[in-house]
């Protein structure tokens, strides 16, 4: 059939739009696909007390940054008395607290939720690290020349191992000897262990940098740890300069890169620092909520996360209404449910959210029955259509009011939520129920009422299903696909399931 082609093209264009936006989000913006989480979530809390010695106190503290394998999903910086801000300094993120305080200790704090996904963010570019190499004596330069020659033929990983054995000060297959030990000890003495290690890596021809940070383990740390990161050609490896031990990167949380102190203060004294880390169990979706709020991508800025939370909740539901409508399309045109009105079941389902399913059905059914009784009684007064409907509307409101009063008296919250049941819809259902009973008999009317309720309940469960709400909220482009399916359903000319029963005489 000729008409079909453009419809199919339209529908599939809509599907393609959905798929491409979702793909963009997943592959470029790293959105989660499933609500379960493969990474680790840590809650970092930093607190420090500052004693200003008069004048403008300025404190900077290195903060975690979104680097390889770490995603900050939520962070909060605070102080009661000082102003605060977060900014970028070199390759690091720092929190800055500043201000003048009258007297006493000022407290500063920072909190962050960190998601660790070591496999998700591979570093692709080769880092360029400039290391400040301190002045060196001739003897030191000779020493470096000697071992540099020895390691020349090794691949990066072997060179790292050779450096590690130096740090361990143990003989090994790379020819560590007594003379080396002597020179190495002197190097450490004159430059400090950290710089000496960096010099060794430079000698080995490997980019390296010192890192200050925390060990990722539960509990409180009062001072940061320091280690060295070395580039092996593929990724950064972390090495403890004291023991030569290579760390698993997922056990460390880097805060500052390079030779910078993790905490700096002007015009004051740091009394006490505390970093506490706690493992958290958080759903992946929640993490994304938080992350999207702070995202720089324009597509994220225009996401529904940018609107105030109380409206978000409403939107979450609204985004599912088209899906409810789609279900109604399916149930009416493919299954063949009879319903009062077309979208009334959706509105009912939305109303049930406030009352709960059982109460909702109970309230709705009883109001319709009361209304039916009233309509039956009113029939003898021969009221015109519009005034008659108004009377029923008034009655519906009175019923809802009574329910709310009863609910208030007995603290039954669901009964108080009735006000949000679609009043006009209820009124119209009473009228339609009445007319249907008159015209097609009670059986047909009850069938339609049951169909309406069944569709409302099915829609209710769909609209209530939280993973679905979140999916549509994060990927609102799914609505294009919903429209696509609706369009395709609009061209469904096949039989309805109910017609199998209706035309059963033709079977076989």
């Amino acid at each position: 059939m000729k008409i079909r082609q453009p419809v199919t093209i339209l529908a599939f264009t809509l599907f393609a739009i959905t798929v491409s936006i979702i793909m963009y989000r997943i592959f470029w913006l790293k959105y989660p696909i499933m609500p379960t989480i493969p990474g680790q979530v840590w809650q970092l809390n930093f607190e420090a007390g500052i004693l200003p010695d008069g004048g403008q106190v300025v404190t900077t503290v290195a903060l975690p940054s979104e680097r390889a394998g770490i995603v900050i999903t939520e962070e909060r910086i605070a102080s009661e008395t000082l102003g605060f801000n977060i900014f970028q300094e070199g390759g690091n993120r720092v929190g800055l607290w500043s201000g003048t305080t009258e007297k006493g200790v000022a407290s500063i704090s920072y909190r962050a939720t960190l998601l660790l996904r070591p496999k998700r963010f591979p570093v692709s570019q080769i880092p360029s690290v400039s290391i400040d190499i301190p002045d060196m004596t001739d003897r030191e330069l000779l020493f470096m020349e000697r071992i540099g020659k020895r390691w020349k033929g090794f691949d990066p990983d072997t060179r790292i191992k050779a450096v590690a054995s130096f740090l361990r000060e143990r003989e090994d297959e790379f020819g560590f000897d007594r003379e080396d030990l002597l020179d190495w000890t002197k190097l450490k003495e004159s430059h400090g262990i950290l710089n000496a290690t960096l010099i060794l890596f430079r000698t080995a021809g490997l980019p390296a940098r010192s890192i200050s940070g925390l060990l990722l383990q539960r509990g409180v740390q009062t001072s940061p740890s320091v280690w060295v990161e070395v580039w092996n050609g593929k990724e950064w490896q972390s090495i403890d300069p004291l023991t030569g031990q290579i760390y698993d990167p997922s056990t460390l949380l880097a805060l500052a890169t390079g030779n910078v102190p993790i905490i700096k203060i002007e015009n004051g004294k740091i009394l006490e620092t505390r970093w506490s880390l706690e493992r958290e169990i958080v759903s992946k979706w929640r993490l994304h909520f938080e992350r999207l709020k702070r995202s720089q991508h324009s597509i994220d800025r225009w996401s529904f996360f940018s609107i105030p939370e109380e409206f978000q909740n409403l939107l979450r539901i609204l985004l599912l209404v088209p899906l409810g409508a789609l279900v109604i399309c399916l149930l009416r045109n493919v299954v063949g449910f009879p319903t009062f009105g077309i979208f009334m079941p959706v509105l009912l389902a939305l109303a049930f959210r406030n009352t709960g399913l059982m109460y909702g059905i109970g309230i709705f059914s009883s109001v319709v029955l009361i209304g039916y009784g009233a309509r039956l009684y009113l029939d003898r007064f021969r009221l015109l259509l519009v005034p008659r409907l108004s009377v029923i509307l008034t009655l519906v409101i009175i019923c809802f009011g009574l329910f709310a009063l009863i609910g208030g008296k007995y603290s039954l919250k669901p009964l108080m939520g009735v006000g949000l049941l679609p009043i006009v819809i209820t009124t119209m259902s009473i009228e339609r129920f009445f007319i249907l009973i008159e015209e097609s008999g009670t059986k047909e009317a009850l069938k339609t009422a049951a169909g309406t309720l069944a569709v409302a309940v099915i829609t209710f469960f769909i609209v209530q299903w939280e993973p679905l709400q979140l999916t549509f909220f994060i990927y609102p482009e799914l609505l294009f696909s919903v429209a696509g399916v609706q369009i395709l359903l609009g061209r469904y000319t096949g039989y309805r399931l109910s017609e199998v029963i209706r035309f059963r005489v033709f079977k076989g």
């Binding site: 059939m1 045109n333 063949g336 021969r382 015109l384 259509l385 519009v386 007319i435 008159e438 015209e439 097609s440 008999g441 047909e444 609009g490 061209r491 469904y492 000319t493 096949g494 039989y495 309805r496 399931l497 017609e499 199998v500 209706r502 035309f503 059963r504 005489v505 033709f506 079977k507 076989g508």
Partner: protein, 316 residues
């Protein structure tokens, strides 16, 4: 899409609701022409222009003020039918067989006071019975005295004949026989019997009542099959002409046979129901497709179309 569960319907060539809507009503029935059939006043005017007899209009009540002129308009007519112009399925229709001082005597024998009668008209005007709920007008027209052909198989009311006309071809027909359950209405939903009609001969075939196949009328106990309907060819022709009248490609033409005036066009329906298939024990889709296969363009005269269907859709 073909599903196993629908195989039986498919094999029988049953027309389903979805296909009827999408491929026939939406395709062949232009929205702009719907008022011609939804509004009985317009339908009657149209029929007059094409010399198709319809029940005679005594009065049209458009406003409450028009009610006052009813007596004058009725004149000597003691009996009449009161209908909403846009009503469907026979709802809102009142048949008056006599008038006296107390008011109007309904066909059931009940007396309706003037006040009750006016209330009913008010209801019609405010749109209770109209399809979309919009305001309506009430028609007062001559009462039909059905020809005795169906008297054995009718419980009160007026039996009518529904013919489905596709692109001007009368493809399927049935007669609707009121029962006690349908309260004298010829409305299948309300419990009337639908009996299929052989297109070639105009003889009744199988019948269906409340989705069950029956052979005898539940109230009168008489056989429904084999009734020879008079004026059959003329009714087929009227039905075929309805296509030229309305320009609608898929309609239900409802006719009654008046004892004096013969076949009358009662109303047209742009969304005719699908029960006719059960009454005929035959699928509509099969017939619609054979029309399309034989006449993809089709510029036949109504008479030629009737000739063709009589040959094509005869029942063995």
């Amino acid at each position: 899409m073909k599903f196993q569960i629908f195989q039986g319907l498919n094999d029988a060539g049953i027309l389903g609701m979805n296909r009827r809507n999408a491929e026939y009503i939406m395709r062949y029935n232009a929205r702009a022409r719907f008022p011609l059939v939804d509004n009985k006043v317009l339908t009657k005017k149209l029929a007059q222009r094409y010399n198709v007899p319809t029940p005679e209009i005594y009065h049209v009540i458009e406003h409450h003020g028009d009610m006052a002129r009813l007596d004058e308009a009725l004149g000597d007519h003691k009996e009449f039918a009161l209908k909403p112009a846009r009503g469907s399925g026979g709802s809102g229709i009142i048949l008056i067989v006599d008038r006296n001082k107390k008011g109007f005597v309904r066909q059931s024998g009940m007396v309706m006071s003037k006040e009750e009668f006016n209330y009913h008209i008010s209801g019609i005007l405010s749109g209770i019975y109209s399809l979309g709920g919009q305001e309506d007008v009430a028609i007062v027209e001559s009462l039909i005295h059905p020809a005795p052909v169906f008297v054995q198989v009718t419980f009160r009311g007026v039996p009518d004949i529904r013919i489905i006309v596709y692109r001007g071809f009368p493809v399927m027909a049935m007669t609707r026989l009121p029962t006690r359950a349908s309260d004298g209405k010829a409305n299948i939903h309300a419990g009337a019997i639908g009996a299929g009609i052989d297109i070639k001969t105009g003889v009744t075939l199988t019948a269906v009542h409340r989705s069950k196949v029956i052979t005898h009328h539940p109230d009168t106990g008489n056989s429904i099959e084999g009734i020879n309907i008079p004026y059959w060819d003329s009714m087929l022709l009227t039905a075929a002409k309805a296509y030229e009248m309305t320009g609608l490609g898929y309609i239900g033409v409802d006719l009654v046979i008046d004892i004096k005036r013969g076949p009358l066009l009662l109303e047209l329906n742009a969304r005719p129901g699908l029960q006719i298939q059960i009454a005929n024990n035959s699928g509509l889709l099969k017939r619609l497709r054979s029309v399309d296969d034989a006449f993809p363009d089709g510029n036949l005269l109504p008479e030629e179309r009737v000739m063709w269907v009589k040959d094509k859709f005869k029942t063995d």
